[in-house]
Structures are given as C-alpha cells and as structure tokens.
Amino acid sequence: MIQLDQISKSFGGQEVIHDLSLEIPEEKTVVLIGPSGCGKSTLLRLMIGILWPDKGRISLLRKELTSQNIESLRQQVGFVLQDGGLFPHLTAAQNICLMAKYLQRDPAWIQSRLAELCALSRLSLDLLERYPRQLSGGQVQRVALMRALMLDPQVLFLDEPLGALDPLHRVSLQDDMKSIFSELKKTVIMVTHDMGEAASLADLIVIMREGRIVQYDNMATLVTQPADPFVVEFINAQRKPWQHLEDQIR
C-alpha cells in the first residue's frame, strides 16, 4: 500500500531521517512511535508529499509520488492533525464537505454520506452547523476524522490525533476510532508517543529513534522478542500512574 525506499531527509543541514525503508501492508493499522524528535511526524508528512525526501523513493497506492500526481493521490487519502487543522471560517459541516463540493459530487450523495459519518462518529447533524471555535477539543477531532473519511479514502494518516485531548475524551475517542477502523477496513498510519494508545489500536508498531527504525513488529513480538535494549526501555518507560501500587501489591 505504502512503500518507502531508502529515504533521507535533512532540515538546515541536520539529517532527521537516515536511509529509511518501510512497507505498510493494506488494511492494517500501523503506529509510528518514538521519543520526541525521532522523525515520526516527518515520516508521516513525507508519505503524503507535504514534505519531499532529499533521497529515496516513496510510493503511495502503488504509485510513486511526483509533484504531478500528488494532488490526485492526496484526494484518495485522509489526514488528521493533532489540533484537527479545521478551517475556522467554515462550519464543521462545510469543513467536512469542502473537498466533495470542490470535486462537484452530487449534493444528495454528500448529504447521505454526512449522515453516515455522523452516525459513525456519534455527532449530531445540528452540531455540525457550529464553527470550529464553538466546538470542544474532542468534537474538533471527531469532525477532523469525518473530514478525512468523507471521500471514503483507502488510507488514513493521523498525526497524534488524541494528543491534545483530556484523558476522558481521549479514551472515548480511542475506543470509537478502534471500532471505526476495524469496521471500515482502512489502511491507517498513526503517529503517537503513547505506548498504551499504540498497544490498543495498532496491528503493527514501528518504533523509531533518531531517524531510524529500531523495530517493526506487532505488540506481542515487541514485548517478547525486543530487537534492542531501547525497545524494552521505551515500552517500560510508559508506566501507568498507579504502577507503584501494583508493584507493592505483588
């Protein structure tokens, strides 16, 4: 579905992605995880041509990214940012339908698709008449997800979609996302720094450090057969707040 072949990328002389190759299979949820500055967000942006690599090749939907095909390829994928990236001058509904209207889809189809997405993300149609600044953080992320799903993309890219939410909203949206992803059978690439989130959502996890992939496996393999002491360290560092109580009880 997505193929990265010996990718390198520098910013101002500083190389942030080093000779990286990665293949993402169809209909799987793949999580990119690692400490701050490991290059996971950069990697995500390289996959949809918001950034371009200095070296190497990237293909998306079996096509190599070029400046000619990038806009049509982007129209076949969805993208959700940490703060939603909603356009403040448009209502939630206008945000969701912007691209469909630009591509002159049938208005009746747009309406029925909107209703479908409302049911899926558990938001009321009335709420979609509000502007982004009138929505809560959780609602903004749900609207952003609906906007990304509007044209029924084959691939979804999510950059820390839950990062700015309080714990309660976070858990509820995480659960909803899990069921949406499994129901829709999309290929999902998500960036996070939260191991719990990765464990809950991911089929496959890419652990990154300093612009390189340390290990690319499912959660069970990461725990049972860590490729590097960093993997153990990284997984263990994500402690629950009540970890010390559990330790005491044991």
């Binding site: 918001i50 049509s72 939603g84 356009f87 600044r133």
Partner: protein
C-alpha cells in the same frame, strides 16, 4: 462573490470617470498662481474672454511659478499672468535679458507670447512692523547690515529664487543667520505674533496698509521691475484670432492703486475674486460677465464629488494591484522582500514632492493626483495581504495541502477567506490616509476638499478652511465606519467568534 462584484463595479466606475477627466478640453484654460493677486488676474482674464463669447475656464491657485510655466509649456493651461522680473530671473535666468523686447523674443522661442504689461509693478520689498522700525531706526535695506540677530521669514520661492534672498544677501552683504521659509499668508501672521521680525512682500499686497507695515527702501536698487504681464501659448492665436486683441485691451488697464484696492477687496473685505474681477471689468469696459454665486451646498457637492472621485479611483486601482502583489510576496519570500521595500520607499517620498514629480509626466489636475494617491495606497494593502496570508497557522495550511486542493483553490477557499480581516484592515488604513492626502491634490489643480483649505489659508479665512477640513474629517470617519461594517458583512462568522468561547 460580493467582494468580486463590488470590485467590478469600482473598475467600471473608474473607466467612466477616466473619460470625464480626459474630456473638457475644448475650453481655453486660464491658470493662476496660489496667491490672491494672481487669482484676481486669472479671473479678470477668463471673465474678459467669456464676456466676448470665448469659452474659458479658470484653473485657479495651481501652485508656484515653475509649476505654472511647465503647465503652460505642456499645454495643460493656455494663459496665465506673471511678472516681468519673475520671467527674467526665474524662468529664463539662463539668458541675458535686458529689456522688454529681448524678453518678448526670448519667450517666442519657447512658443509663448507676451501681451503688453497690465500697468502695475508688483516688485519685491522687505517689510517690518512699525515697532521694529522704530526700535532699530530702520529706514532702508542697508540698515540691516548692523542687525545680525533679526529673524527673517521669507516665502519658500523668495528663499531660493535667483533674484531673491541669496542675491539680496550678497548684494547688501547681510549677516542674518535666522532665515525661515514659510507661506506668504502665514508670514504676516508670524510678523504680527512677533515670532519673526522681517518678511518679504509684494508691493501691491493689501496687508501692507492693514498691518501698518514699514517698507524698507531698496536704497542700492537690488530688486528688478516686476510688471504684470499676460503669457499665452502662441498657438492660441491660431485657435482663436480674437484672443490677441482681447488681451491687448487689458494692457495698461490696471494701475498700482487699482491692484492694491482689488487685493484689499478680496483679502480684507472678503469678496470673491470672481466678483472683484467682475466689478473691475464692468467699470473699465462696461461689460457684464456672469458671476456664479455659489452656495455652501453647491460648493460642498463640487468639492465632495471631486474628492470622492480621487479617493475611489486611486483606492480601487491600488486594491487591484496591491492584493495580487501581496499574494505573490507571500508565495515567494524573496519577491516579498523586494515588493515591500519598493512600496515602502514610495511611501517615504513626501506627498508634495510626489505630486510635483507627476506633473512633467501627466500634466496637472486629476491624473497626476490619482497616480500619486494610488502609489500611496499600495503599502498598507500589500503589507496586510502579505502578513494576513503568512500568518495562517501551519496546521491549517497543512490541512489544505493534505486535502488535495490545488494552489488556486487553496488560495480562494482557504487562504484569502482567512486573510480577509487583515486585507480589509489594510484597505481601511489606505482609504483613511488617502482621504487625508487627497486634500493636497488641490495644489496641482485636482480640486477636492483641499481647494477651500488652500483658498482659506491664502485669504486667512477660517470658515473656508473648515469648509474643506470638516468634510474631509467626516469623510475619513465615514470610510472607517464603512469598512467596519463591511468587515462584519463579509467576514465569516466563524472568524468573528473569539477563541474564548471555546467550551
């Protein structure tokens, strides 16, 4: 959509009014300098021609000698009154002219004819108050040599004329250091307020008697003769053979006493130049020319529509040019730097200087004023368009990219709507500055609210100054309110909600 439609309407309007500015050319155009005597003479000439059935318009108080001379050579005006001394020492200073005949032939080489003198001699003189004269026993210009601390206030023209202050200082070996340049009409005020001690004046000034000034005797005969004469374009005789004889009728018709009396009638008694000229012609030639008696309302309508036209045309042209420049600058930072510095430099040119630069290119009147106002309106709009677009947060720009919108659609659907507030603020700033700057258009004959202000300063008539200043201020306020209202109408409600209402 709404914005596009109104821009279209403005464009249409500008084309129409461009035609208006370009027309009105068949008339004979009489010019005058921006002091009362010149305006009276301009009125006399134009009314004299009109009363003999020749269509003539008077473009009054256009500016100083150089401006009028250039306008005459360029054909922006056809006739104007000047003084022999001024022509010899200011306009044709490169030539060595000794007498009237030489002057005439020198002028003819430039395509300009000179009618015989009108009769009076309005030479330069230096004046002090009676108190100053008594205090220092001042009688003649030579007496000034021993008084280095006297403060001089001269008209800017006198300050740098070849026959003005520089040569006077050398001729009499004058030691004074405190010499300020100021408007002639303000100079009398300064003398009265004792902030200056000595001014230059014209020997037919009405104020000499009014302020009881003491005129210093030009004991070493420095100042040349300044006989009033009429200059006109040679081709005028071809256009209308009557002209020559009509202008000749005015020769020798105005004595010094007559001119002082007419100046007083305007400056001190508050009569209009038109009426004074009318009375003069009636008494001399027993002809009755039509003098329009304008009402306050009709004057306001005239100046107001001239002013509005200047503002609307220059501003809409600026909007059409500046917004694309701002977009270009936001797309390419290197181009942005160049664009911003260029329009920034234009902004630093003093407005009066810019207006005068325009005259050789575009003549006098509406067009040069429009171009100058257009240039001044660019910076705020360019800057605000550029910053409005550059300030769009990264996540919004990435979202627009990731949706797959092509560049033009991103600009139209996302970037311009988000920068609207900033762009409108830029246009509003330009509009308000434009309304103020347009008052200077009167200096080069573009009319507007500056016209009564200019005349008011010249005649020391506060009422007349306010007649221009108040409407200009009101217009600036209206423009401000208009744009605030427009912002509420066209700005997305989503952007008018403050971030605080976030639940």
């Amino acid at each position: 959509m709404m914005l596009q439609k109104s821009i279209l309407q403005l464009l249409l309007l500008s084309i129409l009014s461009g035609l208006v500015f370009a027309s009105a050319d068949a008339n004979i155009k009489v010019g005058s300098k921006k002091f009362t005597e010149s305006v009276i003479l301009g009125e006399i000439i134009s009314q004299h021609l009109s009363s003999h059935g020749i269509a003539a318009v008077h473009q009054d108080q256009l500016g100083g000698t150089r401006l009028l001379w250039k306008a005459l050579l360029g054909g922006d005006i056809d006739i104007y009154p000047d003084y022999s001394g001024t022509i010899i020492h200011e306009i044709l200073q490169a030539e060595d002219i000794d007498n009237h005949a030489e002057l005439k032939s020198a002028l003819e080489k430039t395509g300009v004819l000179m009618a015989n003198p009108l009769g009076f001699n309005n030479t330069y003189a230096l004046g002090v108050s009676q108190a100053t004269a008594q205090k220092y026993q001042l009688r003649k210009i030579s007496d000034l040599k021993n008084l280095p601390d006297l403060r001089f206030g001269f008209t800017n023209e006198f300050m740098d004329r070849e026959d003005g202050w520089p040569s006077l200082r050398n001729y009499y070996q004058l030691p004074q250091k405190t010499v300020r340049g100021l408007d002639h009409d303000l100079a009398y005020k300064g003398l009265e307020a004792e902030s200056i001690d000595l001014i230059d004046l014209y020997s037919t000034d009405a104020e000499i008697a009014y302020y009881q000034l003491h005129i210093l005797d030009d004991d070493l005969k420095h100042f040349p003769e300044y006989s009033a004469v009429i200059l006109y374009r040679a081709e005028l005789e071809d256009r209308n053979p009557q002209i020559k004889s009509l202008l000749a009728q005015l020769s020798g018709s105005i004595s010094n006493t007559e001119m002082v009396r007419m100046n007083s009638a305007v400056k001190l008694d508050g009569n209009s130049e038109a009426l004074v000229a009318h009375n003069f012609l009636k008494q001399k030639f027993n002809v009755s020319s039509l003098v329009e008696n304008s009402t306050l309302l009709s004057r306001l309508l005239k100046t107001g529509s001239e002013h509005l036209l200047l503002v609307i045309l220059s501003l809409s042209a600026a909007i059409l040019v500046a917004i694309p420049l701002g977009i270009w600058g936001a797309r390419s930072p290197a181009a942005g730097q160049i664009i911003l510095s260029t329009v920034g430099i234009i902004q630093t040119i003093p407005s009066l200087a810019l207006l005068v630069f325009m005259i050789p290119l575009l003549g006098i009147g509406g067009p040069p004023a429009l171009v100058a106002l257009f240039l001044y309106s660019l910076l705020p709009i360019v800057r605000n368009t550029l910053s409005g677009l550059s300030d769009i947060p990264l996540d919004i720009r990435e979202s627009a990219l990731a949706l797959g919108l092509p560049p033009a659609a991103r600009l139209k659907l996302v970037e311009i709507p988000l920068a609207t507030r900033s762009i409108l603020a830029g246009i509003k700033t330009s509009a308000v500055i434009n309304v103020g700057t347009a008052t200077l258009g009167a200096l080069i004959g573009a009319g507007g609210f500056g016209q009564p202000i200019l005349t008011g300063i010249r005649l020391d008539d506060t009422g007349l100054i306010l007649e221009g200043a108040i409407p200009a201020a009101v217009l600036a306020l209206l423009v401000q309110w208009g744009f605030d209202l427009l912002e509420r109408l066209i700005l997305s409600p989503g952007l008018q909600i403050s971030q605080e209402s976030h639940s």
